[in-house]
């Protein structure tokens, strides 16, 4: 649902996506999902801007452990 998830078109698309997964939803369900998506996408835009190829989940886990193993503050 990239783009304005709160728009009418995107709500319809969202409903189709969920229906295609095989889960029954009504209009209220879709509205609630769309509102949550808007918040997530608003938050994500600045935080995840221009992620490089090397910014991986493995890097995150390495960083968690490396910080400890490097003795930062230990």
């Amino acid at each position: 649902m990239s783009g304005p998830a709160g728009g009418v078109a995107s709500r319809a698309a969202l409903e189709r996506v969920i229906a295609d997964i095989g889960v029954n939803v009504n209009a209220d369900d879709v509205d609630a999902v769309a509102r949550s998506l808007e918040r997530i996408q608003t938050a994500a835009a600045p935080l995840l801007q221009s992620l490089s190829f090397d910014e991986t989940s493995e890097r995150y886990y390495r960083l968690l452990e490396a910080d400890a193993l490097d003795g930062a503050g230990r």
Binding site: G22, V23, D31, A32, I40, L51, E55, R59, G73
Partner: protein
């Protein structure tokens, strides 16, 4: 001895192992208390009295034979009903898994067993650990021992309430967005959410593989540290378990008892978000807690912090797709068997685009780097509220799956969830009471795998403040 349920976990373990107290007597005292208080508090989903008494008698026989079973010798514990034990029902707080019998045992339960702990039964929780209030449509709402009209916090609702009420000396919980720290704070006990990967999740109900942490709740920091030292550590059966060497958590607590023990420790107060819009009486309690830490030798410093409101929202891009993926078959085939709120929250995960989910998972490295560089280089421990207001009533938070759900629940987890996204450890420590006689807590946050420092600061606070040993009026 008078009421043995008022002992600390460490006192109880010492008394049993030295033969001054029988484990059987202690288990019986807890079972009596459970029988008396369960109708009011609804902490337990199931009490396993016969098993507990049998194990207590074995613990007493071991003492007579001169054998030590470990640091939890004969101590009664109880756990959130999401930790698998082979051959025993594990409901996960749900109707869907009401009859689920796992074929394997959680590593954390095996470790507690091996250390001599005795399980009294299974505790109430939010359905599938999805819910920060303590409501449960299937097993009934767990009630706060300080005032039954108020929430316990969740999702480890029974863990917080049972420990606070003196029904058990400690409890396992899980924390994916605040589910240990919130009930600890609301019920006036200590709770730790460890660094991601520090405690095995093998044999525990999954909610979100990227965020789930297993923690413990206890009546004070020292008890919490002892339990944590038992459950922490690498586990080859958990693919995301870390092999970072553990530190001596119990010694951290012992070291904190001396005056001035926090000399050289910088306690950081963030310049935005975590204190924004805080209730004045909660702010006063937090300020008073910083004064205690300062008297113990710590230096209080203002520290910069990133946009953690956005982190809070971004965590939904990981949590709900992972949860929805796990629940997809039941969402298709048994939607009516979920509480409306649980189902509504799971549906969010179906709408998150796959690319956004992957970006959010990848982006954690950048966000953690920024947090370590900008905030945790300027201080050793961050000091923030768990809740920005007094513990709400059940009625205030009884929103089901309505349009108000997102806002009401979002406010409760606003100060806990960002640290799950980052993966760093957090400790909730009681700091007193608001005017309505409900507990309040500070949340201490440190660099990855520095749980030792959290216990040290928490224990120094308890030593300096005299602790908050008051029991609920039950």
């Amino acid at each position: 001895m008078n009421d043995v349920t008022t002992l600390t976990l460490r006192e109880a373990a010492a008394a049993i192992s030295q033969g001054r107290l029988r484990s059987e007597a202690l288990v019986e005292a807890c079972l009596d208390r459970i029988e008396r208080l369960q109708p009011a508090l609804n902490c337990f989903i199931r009490v396993t009295a016969a098993d507990a008494l049998a194990k207590a008698r074995m613990a007493d026989q071991a003492v007579k034979a001169g054998h030590s079973l470990g640091p939890l010798h004969g101590v009664p514990l109880a756990h959130k009903d999401m930790f698998y034990r082979a051959g025993e029902v594990c409901s996960c707080g749900s109707k869907i898994r009401a009859d689920f019998v796992p074929d394997h045992t959680a590593t954390v339960l095996s470790k507690l067993d091996a250390a001599g702990g005795i399980e009294l039964g299974r505790l109430n929780m939010a359905e599938f650990a999805m819910g920060p209030t303590g409501h449960n449509d299937h097993f009934g709402r767990c009630r706060n021992p300080w005032n039954v009209e108020h929430i316990t916090g969740g999702s480890s609702s029974g863990s917080g309430a049972a420990v606070a009420a003196g029904l058990a000396f400690g409890a396992l919980g899980s924390d994916t967005g605040g589910s240990v720290r919130l009930p600890a704070a609301a019920c006036g006990v200590v709770g730790i959410k460890p660094t991601l990967g520090c405690v095995s999740r093998y044999g525990t109900m999954p909610l979100s593989q990227s965020l789930d942490c297993i923690g413990v709740l206890a009546r004070n920091v020292g008890d919490c540290a002892r339990l944590f030292s038992v459950i922490a550590g690498a586990d080859a059966r958990d693919g995301m378990s870390s092999r970072v060497p553990l530190l001596d958590y119990v010694r951290s607590v012992d070291d904190a008892a001396a005056a001035g023990s926090l000399a050289g420790v910088r306690i950081g107060v963030p310049d935005r978000y975590y204190y924004d819009g805080i209730d004045p009486e909660v702010a006063e309690l937090l300020a008073a807690s910083r004064v205690v830490l300062e008297k113990q030798g710590a230096k209080i410093v203002d520290v910069p912090i990133g946009d953690h409101g956005a982190l809070n929202d971004l965590s939904n891009a990981i949590l709900w797709p992972e949860a929805a993926g796990l629940h997809l078959q039941w969402l298709r085939e048994r939607p009516q068997d979920y509480a409306p709120q649980t189902r509504a929250r799971l549906l969010v995960g179906l709408g998150v685009p796959a690319t956004l989910y992957v970006e959010a998972v990848r982006g954690r490295a950048r966000l953690l780097e920024e947090f370590l560089r900008e905030t945790l280089s300027a201080c050793d421990v961050l000091h923030v509220p768990v809740l920005k207001r007094s513990v709400p009533t059940a009625a205030e938070t009884d929103v089901g799956g309505s349009a108000a759900m997102s806002q009401v629940l979002g406010q409760i987890v606003a100060n806990t969830r960002p640290f799950n996204l980052l993966g760093v450890p957090g400790l909730s420590v009681p700091i007193g009471f608001t005017r309505n006689r409900l507990p309040q807590a500070m949340q201490l946050v440190a660099r990855p795998f520095r749980e030792d420092l959290l216990f040290r600061v928490g224990a120094a606070y308890e030593a300096g403040s005299g602790g908050h040993a008051e029991r609920p009026p039950l």
